[in-house]
């Protein structure tokens, strides 16, 4: 057993009383990271294990706006044991006096191929979709049933076909693979739609062919085979290895982000960890000086206290890992049942190891400097008194600190899988901590200047003096509270500005409706109807087809453009003889009005630049299974921000001649006119689907709000750590406060006055932390809204006030929690102890 360890063990006999904050900060940070990691692993394992159920089959081939042709169907039949055909599209569910958007799933008798649908009443799917009382059966999401005020047995209409509601769809087994939808689900038989007028040529729908495969089927080989044969015809393949890529990516990103926020919590906790070790080592100055007098080397002293810190850190990490594993496991039934996709939460050793690693590294980073300073304590400290753990340690320790911090950032970056986000977050945290530290220093300087202006108000002056003078708490308080409050302030500002944009800007800038699936013979009467309506201020229409960009200059598009959103899925494509009044050509020339030569494309300028396209490039697009290759002859500006009509690609009309297509329209009207327009359009043209922009934006806002809530919770976690650090600082400062109170009492201060001074000091520090956070959060909010969301930013005072009040409350609670003793202890007792 080494001497350092033996001495360390003797030193720790005194117990861990002074290390509660150290342990709490470390345990909390590690628990947060371990908990998030366990949840993420659970969701990922759930998605992997139940891939076939989520997908609705072992594999799926998906087509846009068409069903599989005979060759494709033959391929599906050849490779699968069973298969099922599903149509997926938006439509209007209509009852007398009301109508609403629904996402329709039209299925065959084989659905669901895997998993089971849960219905209320609990009847088989076949029975639910069978004809009842002369009408085909339908099942609906309970949200939709409630919105339309239906009860089981009532009828409703899709297009021109009436259906009878037979059950509520409580659980849809393959819902997670559908991605983001605007309307709640309805399920009907495909055969029942024959007379609905929906699914006409050019209508917007997807078909999905789910397959069960023979045992031991090689999914990768099957994917390659299907891709080779059908990719250029617009087929997309998914299989149970990665059934819900969207969810998996989202969970992965949110999980990584929350791990990074957990690291921010550890950074805040580090302030407490560092303070606890410093205070402990300050108390050990005499012991260290004595050991040195007796011949101990600086290295032995360093190792002795490093061993003690390591033992304590191991304890803190163990508590954190235990909590981080236990809480998700205990809450597993609740979490699993509330998620819309399967999760299988269980012990995840990798998540726990990752959390323990971060904990150990953080503990080392935040204790290294105080530990290294012990080397420089001289035996003379015994006689001169004072503390010896101040000043800069040797350069090698600073280099070691930089190396450890780099290791932490690099590990977090690599482990997150999203380096940009990780580096951005790490940079943000470091920048925020630097800004907070600078602000705290500036606050101290300001307090020193203000002190002379508070003469005659002793409680205030004592408070200001304590902030500006030696032993000030300004830096630990602002660092510990500031980070969490800054994130909350930024979330508050962004959330409010988004809501404001939705509530006030949207009605003036965005249309009221998107109408889709307008058949060519309906567009004339539709335009007449809108033009005749005085409430309609503007109507824009455009023909629309959907297609997948498959090649750029003869090379596969994905090879050229990577994962850019324009080549990721199918895109809307339009044709036009003229550029249109609002269009601005940025490069090249738009074709003449009567042009009928080789196919030409006018491409969106910004997206074209991102893809590296230039005039003369040839783009091959698969539209309804047919390849069309066209040359880029112009670039034009497209504004996607106002929800109006915007196409990445516009072709000359003759290039798309004969391709079945529909029209889309945007209609601008005040909110009070929306209901009448909707009713009239759905009644006159039942096949036309109306998307209310307000509802669509609400759905997006809900999704954003969920992310904001998750971020706010994460920030609250950081704040909790910060609060523990505050408690620690207040506990550490209790002796100083008791001493100060004793002197003030001796000089004639009443307890109320002393309490007021302590409260003022805490409140001023809390307010300062809140103000710094509001400024930092405001700047972050402005940057996000201006540069990321390309919107306007207006400062929101109410949430900012909440942040400042929150800061005051936190410091008051922590500060006053320890004020009682300083007021109660008789001055003689304190002053005598100091003599």
């Amino acid at each position: 057993m080494s001497l350092a360890y033996r001495i360390a063990r003797r030193e720790l006999r005194g117990g861990i009383r002074g290390f509660r904050v150290f342990l709490a900060c470390l345990a909390l940070g590690v628990a947060a990271i371990a908990g998030v990691g366990t949840l993420r692993a659970g969701i990922q394992s759930g998605l992997a294990d139940q891939g076939a159920i989520i997908l609705g089959g072992d594999a799926e081939m998906r087509f846009t706006y068409r069903a599989a042709d005979a060759t494709e169907l033959a391929h599906i039949a050849a490779i699968s044991t069973t298969h099922s055909e599903v149509y997926d599209f938006r439509s209007m569910a209509v009852i007398d006096g009301d109508e609403t958007l629904t996402q329709v799933k039209a299925v065959d008798a084989a659905w669901p191929l895997t998993g089971a649908a849960v219905l209320e009443p609990a009847i088989p799917v076949a029975q639910a979709l069978a004809e009842t009382g002369g009408l085909p059966g339908a099942i609906m999401d309970p949200v939709l049933i409630e919105r339309l005020g239906l009860t089981v047995g009532d009828s409703f209409r899709l297009g021109t076909q009436d259906f009878r509601l037979t059950a509520a769809l409580i659980r849809e087994p393959d819902s997670a693979s559908a991605g983001f939808t605007l309307g709640p689900r309805s399920v009907v038989r495909t055969s029942a739609l024959a007379n609905s007028g929906l699914l006409a040529p050019g209508a917007l729908f997807e078909t999905r062919y789910r397959m069960t495969l023979p045992a031991g089927a090689d999914l990768a080989a099957l994917e390659t085979e299907a891709e080779t044969k059908f990719r250029d015809k617009g087929m997309r393949w998914t299989d149970s290895r990665n059934a819900a890529p969207g969810i998996e990516r989202f969970v992965g990103q949110i999980g990584s982000f929350l791990v990074l926020v957990g690291l921010a919590g550890l950074a805040v906790g580090g302030v407490g960890i560092s303070a606890a070790i410093r205070s402990y080592l300050d108390g050990k100055t005499a012991t260290i000086a004595t050991l040195k007098t007796l011949g101990a080397s600086g290295g032995l002293i360093f190792r002795t206290y490093l061993v003690q810190t390591a033992i304590l850190a191991a304890l803190g990490i163990a508590i954190g890992v235990a909590l981080g594993a236990a809480i998700p496991l205990l809450a597993a039934p609740l979490i699993e049942s509330s998620l819309p996709f399967p999760a299988d939460i269980r012990l995840s050793p990798m998540a726990l190891i990752e959390a323990a690693f971060y904990g150990a590294l953080s503990a080392l980073i935040f204790t290294l400097i105080p530990l290294a300073r012990t080397e420089t304590i001289r035996p003379a400290a015994l006689y001169r008194g004072g503390t010896g753990t101040r000043g800069w340690p040797r350069k090698r320790w600073l280099a070691a600190l930089a190396a450890l911090a780099t290791l932490l950032i690099v590990t977090a970056t690599l482990a997150s899988g999203i380096p940009e986000l990780a580096l951005g977050t790490a940079g943000g945290i470091l920048a925020a901590l630097a800004v907070l530290a600078l602000s705290a220093t500036a606050l101290r300087a300001l307090a020193r200047r203000l002190a002379r202006h508070t003469r005659g108000r002793p409680a205030l002056r004592a408070a200001i003096a304590a902030i500006g003078g030696p032993q000030s708490d300004a830096i630990p308080v602002i660092l510990s509270l500031g980070l969490g409050l800054s994130v909350l302030a930024a979330v508050g500002q962004i959330d409010w500005n988004l809501r404001r944009a939705i509530a006030t800007d949207l009605p003036t800038r965005a249309p009221a409706f998107f109408f889709v699936d307008i058949q060519p013979d309906q567009i004339g009467p539709f335009l007449d109807r809108m033009t005749a309506d005085p409430a309609v201020t503007e109507t824009e229409t455009a023909p629309m087809l959907r297609g997948v960009i498959t090649r750029i200059n003869g090379r596969p598009a994905r090879e050229v453009a990577g994962d850019h959103w324009v080549v990721r899925g199918d895109r809307g494509i339009t044709y036009a003889a003229t550029p249109g009044e609002k269009t601005r050509i940025t490069e090249g020339q738009f074709w003449p009005e009567d042009y009928s030569g080789d196919a030409q494309i006018s491409f969106a300028a910004e997206e074209g630049a991102e893809l590296g396209l230039k005039l003369g490039d040839r783009i091959t697009t698969n539209i309804l299974g047919r390849d069309i290759t066209a040359t880029i002859t112009s670039f034009r500006e497209v504004d996607f921000s106002n929800a109006g009509i915007g196409f990445v690609m516009t072709l000359n009309p003759s290039a798309l001649a004969g391709a079945p297509h529909t029209h889309i329209a945007t209609v601008y009207a005040p909110p009070e006119a929306e209901a009448a327009i909707l009713k009239d359009v759905t009644k006159t043209w039942p096949n036309i689907t109306a998307i209310r922009i307000r509802e669509a934006v609400d759905r997006v806002a809900e999704a954003l709000s969920a992310i904001a809530t998750a971020t706010a919770w994460a920030a609250a976690g950081t704040l909790l750590t910060g609060f523990i650090v505050l408690i620690g600082a207040a506990a550490a400062g209790e002796r100083a406060r008791i001493y100060e109170a004793a002197i003030l009492k001796t000089l004639g201060a009443t307890r109320a006055r002393i309490l007021a001074s302590f409260a003022l000091r805490a409140a001023l520090l809390g307010a300062a932390a809140g103000l710094v956070a509001v400024v930092a959060g405001g700047i972050a909010g402005w940057a996000v809204l201006t540069f990321v969301m390309e919107g306007d930013y207006v400062f929101e005072p109410l949430s900012a006030l909440g942040i400042v009040l929150g800061g005051i409350l936190a410091t008051l609670l922590a500060g006053l929690a320890f004020a009682g003793r300083s007021l109660a202890v008789p001055p003689a007792q304190v002053l005598r102890a100091q003599e």
Partner: protein, 222 residues
């Protein structure tokens, strides 16, 4: 005609110790007259400092009566005692007991501010000048030497012009030269303001400078 500014009648102090209650002061009765300088002497642990604390209302007697300027200190609550000290007493300690977060000037001004004196800082400045520290007003205690800190403490005690000066071994932490200077200063302040001075000391030469010396042994007057 004697004019007692401080009188103790059978004053007792018992404190709780690890091994049970400890009798620190066992029935002290004495009177100190206005303008008098009194030296409290005795061996370590005899109760000198505790008696001074009792006189300053910093410690509450567990028995008997302590009257200061005609007021019964044993009948006052803690805040009442604080207000009384603010107006009537200046206390100097062996360990100076300056507030570490305040500058020298602020330390001297604080009792005046507590008493609501409007020109607290001007007076504090003058007091610091008087103790020879007019040039160190903006220094924090940690930036001052022991002798300088004790001079600040003296200025602070003298600033409110108290009727009673209580000093607990004010030179105990200082070397001979500094100690001598502080004592000269203490006596000159007392002379200038005509206050009563009660001084706890181990130093016989200091006790000799007092009008009267009271000896304590084992918590009783010897």
């Amino acid at each position: 005609m004697p004019d007692p500014v401080l009188s103790l009648t059978d004053a007792r102090l018992t404190l709780a110790g690890n091994a049970g209650p400890v009798d620190i002061l066992r029935g002290i009765s004495l009177a100190v007259n206005r303008g008098e300088t009194v030296g409290l002497v005795g061996p370590s642990g005899s109760g000198k400092s505790s008696l001074l604390m009792l006189m300053g209302g910093l410690e509450r007697a567990t028995g008997g009566q302590v009257l200061a300027l005609g007021q019964d200190l044993t009948a006052m609550d803690e805040d009442g005692l604080a207000r009384f000290r603010r107006q009537n007493m200046g206390v100097v300690f062996q360990s100076f007991h300056l507030i570490p977060t305040m500058t020298a000037l602020e330390n001297v001004a604080i009792p005046l501010e507590l008493a609501g004196v409007p020109d607290a800082f001007d007076r504090a400045q003058a007091e610091l000048q008087a103790v020879g520290l007019g040039h160190r007003t903006d220094h924090y205690p940690s930036q001052l030497s022991g002798g300088e800190q004790q001079r600040v403490a003296l200025a602070r005690a003298a600033a409110p012009r108290p009727a009673l000066f209580l000093a607990d071994e004010p030179t105990g932490n200082l070397d001979g030269v500094n100690g001598q200077a502080i004592m000269d200063l203490l006596f000159s302040l007392r002379d200038r303001h005509g206050a009563t001075l009660i001084l706890v000391t181990h130093a016989p030469e200091l006790a000799e400078r007092c009008d009267r010396v009271i000896r304590l042994a084992d918590g009783k007057l010897a």
